[in-house]
Symmetry: C2
Subunit: 475 residues, 2 copies
C-alpha cells in the first residue's frame, strides 16, 4: 500500500532546501563524523522493513544524549527542517522514511539501561536499546520485558508505533507497559511525563499520547518501563484443527472461561506447509494453534488439562504439550520461523506484512474471506496471527517488478481492511500508520477525527518538523 505524496510541499521549495543545507553545515560543526551525508547511509535510513519505496533523509546524525537531541531539534525547528527519529529500522509502514528530506536521528547509540529497580518492577532505558538487549541485561534479575513484536525492535520505536505482538493477551501492548517518558518537543524543550507510580489520574495522559504517535509529536529520549516476573513454569502446545472455525472457537472459549493463556498464535494451512518445508517439520497441514500458558507449575498443569478438553471438543488432533524449554522451542519452531518460511515460498519476492485486528467473534469470517480472496486473486500469501487479540497478518509475496500483481494485492488488502472496519475492527493492530495507511486511517475514523489529530499536531509542532507526512498527509 504505497502512498501518494504531496509534492508541492513547503519543504520542497529551493529556500527550504537551502535551509536544510545550512542546518547540516551548522550541525556538522558539533557532530563531526557523527553526521553522515553518505548515499549508502542515507539510503539505509530511508525505509524500514517491508516498505518498498525509499525516501532518504538529507543527513543522518547519531546523538549520544538528550541534550544533543534537544539542540538538533531546536535548530531544525528554527530552520523549518524535518526531523525523523530512527530506532532499529524494523517498522513496516515507512515510518522512518524521509519523504520531505531533513535530518534522521539514529538513536542506536543512546542504548543504555540507566536504572533497574527490582522491588518496583521497573527500569529506565534510553530509546535506542533493543528489546533483546534489554532482556539480556535483565536475565539475572528474575524480571523481563515481555512485549515481543517479533523483530528485535528498539524500545523507542516500539513505543512510537504502540507495538505489541505474541503475548499481548497476557501483558498488554506498549501502551500498558510504559510508566514515564522523557521527550524532546518540537521546539527543543525537554519534558518528562508520567511517573513511577503504577497508576495516576494526574491530568491528561501524555504518556499514552506520545505512545503510538510515530515521532510526530516529540522525540522520546528516555523511557521508564514496567517489568514483569519471569514465569515459574511455561507450558506450550501445538494443535491442528479440521477447519478454521474449530481453531477460532477454541480461542473464544479459552478466553471466555478466563483461562490465563499467555500466547495463542494461529498459522493457516499454507503457512504450516511453508514451515514444514523450511524447518523440516511434519505438522499436519491444517489450521493450527500454538497455545502457551504461564504461571506456577500447578496452575500451568491445571490449565493444560482444561485446554485439552476445550481443544479436543473442537475437533483438534495430534495435541502435543511440552513444559521444558528445549521441547517448547522445538514445538514453536514453526511459529518462530514463520516469516522466513513464508519468504522461502517465493524466493526473490518482496514480502508485505498486512495487519488488521477484528473482534474475536468475527475472526473466523474475516480470515476465511481473506483466504478466499487471496486464492481467487492467484496470490501467494500465508496467514498467521495473534488470534487471542483478533489480530492477524497476511504475508503477501509479491514480485517487485510486477505492478499488475501488486494491484491484485492492493485489492485483496483493501478488501481485508474494509471488512475489518465493517466488523468493528481496525486497519492496524500493531504496525501503525506511517506513510502506508494514511488513507485507511481516514476510512477508519472519518475526517473529523483526523482533523482532531491534526489540531493536536499543529498545537504541539506548529512548524510541522517532526516526521512530516506520517499518520496523515501534510497540508
Amino acid at each position: 500500500m504505497n502512498a501518494s505524496l504531496k509534492l508541492s510541499s513547503h519543504f520542497a521549495t529551493p529556500e527550504a532546501k537551502a535551509r536544510v543545507a545550512l542546518a547540516i553545515e551548522q550541525l556538522r560543526q558539533e557532530f563531526g563524523d557523527r553526521l553522515s551525508v553518505g548515499a549508502a547511509v542515507r539510503e539505509q535510513h530511508g525505509r524500514g522493513e517491508a516498505y518498498a519505496r525509499c525516501f532518504p533523509p538529507d543527513a543522518v546524525i547519531w546523538p549520544m544524549s538528550t541534550a544533543e537531541v534537544s539542540r538538533i531539534v531546536k535548530l531544525c525547528n528554527e530552520q523549518g527542517v524535518p526531523v525523523i527519529a530512527y530506532g532499529a529500522g524494523t517498522s513496516l509502514e515507512g515510518h522512518v522514511s524521509a519523504p520531505y528530506g531533513g535530518i534522521c536521528l539514529d538513536m542506536s547509540r543512546m542504548n543504555q539501561v540507566l536504572k533497574v529497580r527490582s522491588d518496583d518492577g521497573d527500569c529506565v532505558v534510553q530509546p535506542g536499546i533493543t528489546r533483546e538487549e534489554l532482556n539480556a541485561y535483565l536475565r539475572d534479575t528474575g524480571l523481563y520485558f515481555p512485549i515481543d513484536p517479533g523483530a528485535n525492535a528498539s524500545i523507542g520505536g516500539m513505543i512510537s508505533t504502540r507495538a505489541s505482538g505474541t503475548n499481548t493477551i497476557r501483558y498488554g501492548t506498549m501502551a500498558h507497559n510504559v510508566f514515564a517518558l522523557e521527550v524532546v518537543l518540537a521546539n527543543g524543550e525537554v519534558i518528562r511525563c508520567g511517573s513511577r507510580a503504577r497508576k495516576s489520574s494526574a491530568g491528561y495522559d501524555l504518556v499514552r499520547m506520545f505512545t503510538g504517535s510515530e515521532g510526530t509529536l516529540g522525540i522520546i529520549t528516555e523511557a521508564t518501563l514496567r517489568l514483569h516476573a519471569q514465569p515459574e513454569a511455561v507450558g506450550s502446545s501445538v494443535c491442528s484443527f479440521p477447519d478454521l472455525r474449530g481453531a477460532v472457537d477454541t480461542v473464544i472459549e479459552l478466553i471466555q472461561i478466563g483461562a490465563p493463556v499467555s500466547r495463542i498464535e494461529f498459522l493457516d494451512e499454507l503457512q504450516v506447509r511453508a514451515s514444514n518445508a523450511y524447518s523440516n517439520l511434519s505438522l499436519p497441514e491444517q489450521p493450527t494453534l500454538f497455545i502457551e500458558f504461564m504461571g506456577t507449575q500447578a496452575a500451568v498443569t491445571e490449565q493444560f488439562e482444561r485446554a485439552v478438553e476445550v481443544v479436543t471438543s473442537h475437533g483438534a488432533k495430534g495435541l502435543e504439550w511440552a513444559f521444558d524449554e528445549q521441547r517448547r522451542a522445538q514445538l514453536w519452531k514453526a511459529r518462530h520461523s514463520a516469516y522466513f518460511a513464508a519468504r522461502a515460498l517465493k524466493p526473490g519476492a518482496e514480502c508485505i506484512a498486512a495487519d488488521v485486528c477484528v473482534p474475536i467473534s468475527e475472526l473466523a469470517n474475516c480470515v476465511t474471506q481473506t483466504r478466499a480472496d487471496i486464492d481467487a486473486a492467484g496470490l501467494t500469501a500465508p496467514i498467521l496471527g495473534h488470534v487471542g487479540d483478533g489480530n492477524f497478518h497476511v504475508l503477501f509475496l509479491i514480485d517487485p517488478n510486477n505492478d499488475e500483481e501488486r494491484a491484485r494485492m492492493d485489492a485483496v488488502y483493501g478488501a481485508m481492511i474494509a471488512t475489518a472496519h465493517r466488523l468493528g475492527g481496525t486497519c492496524t493492530g500493531e504496525h501503525g500508520i506511517g506513510l502506508g495507511k494514511r488513507e485507511k486511517l481516514i476510512a477508519e475514523f472519518g475526517p473529523p477525527v483526523i482533523e482532531l489529530m491534526r489540531k493536536l499536531k499543529q498545537a504541539w509542532d506548529p512548524n510541522g518538523i517532526l516526521n512530516p507526512g506520517k499518520v496523515f498527509e501534510i497540508r
Copy 2:
C-alpha cells in the same frame, strides 16, 4: 485543598452573564421541565463528595440522547457558556462544580446498556449508567465489569477521572478497559474514536486522551467497555502484621513472585480500630492486609498456600482464609465499611479523602512518615490503601468550622504529596485533579508540561467552554 479562583474571568462579565441567561431561555424551549434553575437542584449539582465548596451551575439539564447533548454544547459554544458534565456526583476534587457558572448536563437519564457481546467480552453503554447498575445487568452473562472505585460512580465519570480502585492490580484502570468512545466535541460535533478490536496502532490514541480529561476536552455520550469473565473461585484472607514494614514487604514479595492477586488492601491501626467499633469486629488493632486471589479452584488453593508462606515469613498472625462468598463478605466487612467507620470516629466532621500513589518500594516510608505527621499535627485521620498499586488514602476528619485545623491538614497533605513527588510518585492515583489539585499538578510535572496540556485544550476547545477551571486554571 481548596483552590483559589481567578475572579476576573471572561465568564464573569455582565455580557457573559447575559449570554448565559439567553442560552437558558433558548434551551428551555427545547427541554421544558428537563431544565431546572431551582436553587436546590443547582446546589446539589454544584459539588461532588468530599469537596467543601459549592459552585452551583446556572441551570441543570437532563439530556436523553447524543443529539440533545450535541445541540446543547453547540449552542453553549456559540454563546461562550460553560458546560459541565455530571454523572453520579461522586468525584472528590470538585470536578462537577461550576465556578464560572454555566449549564450542568446531568447524564443520569442516559443510562442504558445498548449492547452486550459475550463472545467478544465487550458492551456498549451510555455514560450515565453506574457500575452497580451495569453489573446487575450483566449478572447472568458470566461476565462483569470489575473496576471498582468504591463509590457507585457513573461509567462516564469513571472514564473522565481515569478511576480505578481495589482490583487495579489485576484488571488495570479505566484506561485499560475502554475500547471506544462516542464524544461530543466543544463545537457540538459528534465523533467516535477507538474500535472493538482488542488493540490498535491506528493513529493517536484519542480514547486514552479523553480518559482522565475530566470533561475538559469533550462530553462522553457512549462507551464501549471491556468485560471480564466472572472468576470461578475467589479466596480471601485477612492478616495482621506486627508493623507496617512487614505488611508492605509482603506486598512486594507477592508481586515479585508474580502471584496472581486480585486485591491487596491495607488498613492501618486507627482504621482497624474504627472498623472494629463501627462493625462490631474484633480484628487485632495492627497494620492489616486484606488479600484476594481469583482464578480456578486449584489455582486459588495453590496461591493460598504460597501466600501463607510469604505472609507468615513477614510476621503475620491470625491468618484467616475464606473461599465461600458469605465468609468472604464477613472477612472483608472492615474494608468495605472503612469510609463510614472512619467518619464515625468523629461525628459531624467533614471527611477529606487524600490520595497519593508511590512506587511500592517507597510505600512503607511514605505511610510511616504520613502517620507520624498526622499524629504530630494532632489530627484524626486513618490510613488505608490499594497497596498493590502503591496507592493510599488518608481520611482526614476535619471540623468544618475550624480553619486552624484545616490549615494543619493542608500542611500534612501538602507534605504527603511533596514526599510522593520526591519518591517518583503522583499527587493522585485515582481521584483526579479537578479544582482541588491544580497546583499539585504543576508541582508534579512543571509548567512546560502543563503548557502542553493547555495547548491541547486550546486546540480542541478554543472558547474554553468545557468544564472551565478544571485540571488547570483558566487564563
